[in-house]
């Protein structure tokens, strides 16, 4: 596709293959058609379902307000694709431009988009993970099973890990009036993503709603009864807890194993790509026909020191897919960079939590509106004298303002006095992120260097 006019031919009659038929894959497919791609479009997905939305799974679906299969994503337009659902991509030969499928067939492409996302990190002990009553939550099937079990009214639920997903599950349990214990290795819930200053507020929410929150403790083992049902959990402080259900919420692993041997820079931290969503190969050379988008991607962001960001955020999957799709069918000079400012939301204990920027890069934090004690506030995050992120609890309307501050590299602490002049917000304090040299289960945003040859990972339970 290097010859003049070849892009035109690609748009007209090329073959584009999308691996990963979920949010990023669907939005990319729509964009391709929107922008005039009339060739063959193949969507490969290992789940048997058409693309569906995951955020509702840990919220309205677990609450029992909406059935799990009410989450299929609306189409923004018809995409006239050939669907290969329920079959995984098993290998990639970038020289022959061919994707091998798990059922022994293969598909050839002129351009490939990889959007295989992440999967839940399972409980590390396989025998214990297999106990009846031990769950993870990533897919519609996971949500259906867990919802069914919660509905049956277990005597106690144990949530392992108090990141966003774990906290949302705990919140659902309380709303369903189920006794729930949360075990978190860090000092507070959400401390990996938002720091322990805000994490303390999250801990208050847990307590206020009757969650048995235990921080600074690890679950060391799960014990079953004679029939293989979960009965008890053991903790690092020597304690035990009787529970019928345990939800493992220890973060996610990137779906990149199928790319082993492909020569792409794909590993446990995702697939490295340039700001135009083109994948790097292991030599650090950018490809021109393999693109990446969504949770599985790691791309450099100029606003954040060109560090490679892996974002497990809904909005990033949509925005990155649109840029990737555009660039797949455009000549070099018309390509666009993915300069999206990270944005995400979570809802737990009836509170709307939102974030813009990359909080976990910050060293300091200042409460600029509202008050931590009222659980309704806006906090700005600073890094080396710049505003780098902001988080709101039930004050979402302020985020757009902070997005501009971040994009303009505004100084931190902000020169303006807090709008409502609370004393709390007058002075920046350390944000309270964990020491990066201590291993932790993944925060929602990971910022790290680029090392494609480092294929080893050692799992340390949270």
């Amino acid at each position: 596709m290097a010859v003049d006019g070849s892009v035109e031919r690609l748009r007209r009659e090329g073959r584009i293959v999308v691996v990963g038929a979920s949010l990023a894959g669907l939005r990319a497919a729509e964009t391709l058609r929107e922008e005039g791609f009339t060739g063959t479009l193949t969507m490969i997905g290992d789940e048997p379902y058409e693309p569906y939305d995951r955020p509702p799974l840990s919220k309205q679906v677990l609450l029992g307000r909406v059935p799990a299969d009410h989450t299929a994503l609306p189409r923004r337009r018809a995409i006239e694709a050939q669907w290969r659902l329920g079959v995984a991509a098993a290998g990639l030969d970038p020289t022959a431009k061919r994707v091998a499928l798990a059922n022994g067939t293969s598909v050839e492409y002129d351009r490939l988009l990889i959007a295989t996302g992440v999967r839940s990190r399972p409980w590390p002990n396989e025998l214990e993970a297999g106990l009846d009553g031990v769950f993870v939550l990533r897919t519609m099937d996971d949500a259906t099973r867990l919802r069914h079990r919660l509905k049956a009214g277990p005597s106690r639920v144990l949530v392992i890990g108090a990141g966003f997903t774990g906290s949302e599950i705990a919140s659902v349990c309380r709303e369903r009036d189920l006794p729930v214990t949360v075990a978190e290795r860090g000092p507070t819930p959400l401390s990996g993503a938002l720091g322990s200053v805000i994490g303390d507020v999250a801990a208050q929410l847990h307590h206020q709603h009757g969650v048995d929150l235990r921080c600074g403790v690890m679950v060391t083992g799960l014990e079953g009864d004679g029939a293989g049902r979960l009965r008890r959990a053991h903790f690092s402080d020597g304690g035990t807890l009787d529970a019928e259900v345990a939800v493992v919420a220890l973060g996610a692993t990137r779906n990149t194993e199928w790319l082993a041997g492909s020569g792409l820079a794909a590993g446990p931290r995702g697939i490295a790509c340039d700001a135009g969503c083109r994948a790097f190969d292991v030599r650090g050379i950018v490809t021109d026909d393999v693109f990446v988008a969504g949770d599985v991607a790691r791309s450099p962001h100029p606003l954040f020191g060109y560090q490679f960001l892996s974002l497990e955020h809904w909005g990033n999957a949509v925005a990155q897919a649109e840029v990737a799709a555009h660039n797949m069918i455009c000549p070099g000079e018309e390509r666009r960079p993915h300069l999206w400012t990270p944005y995400f939301w979570s809802a737990q204990f009836g509170v709307n939590i939102k974030s813009v920027g990359v909080p976990n890069m910050a060293d300091q934090i200042i409460v600029s509106q509202g008050s931590l004690g009222e659980h309704r506030f806006t906090a700005a995050y600073g890094y080396q004298g710049r505003v780098i992120a902001a988080v709101t609890f039930d004050q979402a309307k302020w985020l757009e303002f902070y997005q501009r501050q971040i994009e303009q590299a505004a100084p931190f602490p902000p020169p303006f006095t807090t709008v409502d002049r609370r004393t709390e917000g007058m002075r920046p304090v350390p944000a309270g992120f964990p020491d990066p040299s201590v291993p932790t289960h993944g925060p929602q945003v990971t910022v790290s260097g680029h090392s494609p040859t480092d294929q080893r990972v050692t799992f340390t339970p949270a």
């Binding site: 909406v66 659902l85 067939t105 809802a347």
Partner: protein
Amino acid sequence: MRVVVDLNRCQGYAQCAFLAPDVFAMHGEEALLYDGQPDDTRRLDVLRAEAACPVKAITVEGAGATWAAEGAGVSDGG
């Protein structure tokens, strides 16, 4: 019919919950819960909510863009 809300954009104005209360509901002060696949009898309400959302956060599946219209079924990849 299918609906999705971009909750990054949503600012909790609750217009949708007012116009289509069977489909959209506030959860606490600001968080929004909704049914992504409301009954077709709610179509008019949902379209009104979509139009009324001040930040255009609601996407409703357009006519002709449905799964069925595409004639695509779940395949085993063969």
